[in-house]
């Protein structure tokens, strides 16, 4: 394959990966124009937007993992010297989506119930019920990503040796996000998207394992 063909393939796969969950969300929630009308109770439109934010967070996190672990290989295929700048720049929308997902849920649940649901969203009691158990792992994933990004931002200066380990929390967070999404994701509970998300999680685990083994060698 030529460099040009590789570029198209990589760009196309990325767009497809981003579009697929959003398309499933679109179909399941149609018509979306409903949420720009008035025929819904308080918080419903915010809740609806929380769902694609979760999908974006998951897919962007996966792309960041791929770029982090195979950035050099992909750069070679695409005929560019490095993809590290892309990995760094993509941290902003990834973090944005990771923040948007719980913030929108907090907003929706607070508007719906009439009381502040901050603690239930950002530090849920895992033993309370089925739902809060899976929420708890979502919250852990959120904090893991925040720590991983912070480590990349300030870590190289403050913790020159340990920052990479903390940055590696991304992988743990991705696993936790998968666990969270399998039970709570309205679209992910469906067979098709569930399989895709599990495949992404397995791919990420495989890539990480390969990296760890190659380092040991």
């Amino acid at each position: 394959m030529t460099v040009r063909a590789w570029r198209w393939t990589l760009a196309g796969s990325t767009l497809l990966l981003l579009a697929l969950p959003l398309a499933v969300f679109w179909v399941k929630t149609a018509p979306l124009s409903f949420y720009f009308g008035d025929s819904f109770p308080p918080g419903q439109a915010i809740y609806i937007m929380m769902r694609p934010a979760g999908h974006l967070a998951y897919v962007l996190l996966f792309l960041q993992i791929v770029l982090g672990l195979h950035g050099k290989d992909l750069a070679r295929l695409a005929g560019v010297p490095t993809l590290l700048p892309l990995h760094k720049a993509m941290a902003i929308p990834t973090l944005g989506a990771v923040f948007a997902h719980p913030l929108l849920f907090w907003w929706a649940a607070s508007v719906r119930t009439g009381h502040n649901t901050f603690l239930n969203t950002f530090w849920p009691d895992p033993m309370r019920n089925y739902w809060t158990w899976y929420f708890f792992f979502g919250a852990l994933a959120f904090y893991g990503v925040v720590l991983a990004v912070l480590a990349a931002l300030v870590g190289p200066r403050l913790l020159p040796r340990a920052w990479r380990v903390i940055h590696g929390l991304t992988y743990v967070s991705f696993g936790l996000a998968w666990y969270h999404s399998r039970a709570t994701g309205a679209e992910v509970r469906d067979q098709g998207l569930g399989v895709l998300y599990t495949a992404m999680a397995l791919m990420a685990a495989g890539m990480l394992l390969r990296r760890l083994v190659s380092r040991r060698d």
Binding site: K28, Q44, A45, I46, M49, N129
Partner: protein, 176 residues
Amino acid sequence: MRVPWVSALAATLAGAVLFALPGIREQFRSPGQKEAWRRDCYVVKPEEAARRILQGQGKVVLLDVREKEEYDEFHIPGPLCLRITLRDLPTADLTPFQDADLVIPYCLKDLRGFEGAKILRQRGILNVGVFEKFGIYSWENAGFPTAGTANGKSDEQAMQELREKVAALPASSIAP
């Protein structure tokens, strides 16, 4: 190759605005607009729903749209409480609802429950409603029992308790 910080920041901000837009619009609705949804969806007090079910005043069906694990944990007891998950609702057999006078889909706080009501309406079941103050939490807040593994109550035990609670309700609390 430079890091395209500005493009990344601009894309993120644009995304944030896009995602927040429906919510911001929702917050700035007039009081009339905020209540407009009640035209298409009945809002029912848990006391009223319980009384109608127990006294056989029309066919009122409660529909739990949560996952099986959530249902097993705690649910509204009774023979007219069905369970169809939200994801199954678009293709589920709606025969039990065809002759219902009122169908109340519910979840925890009706974020999913209302989606269930929307799907039912799209599928031709127009007599749909939600609990006032929303979801199974409003049922519990009304002092009504639930059955399931969380409290160890069977459906029969919870039904018996529900009958006693409804019988003890003052008439004013169940006025429509």
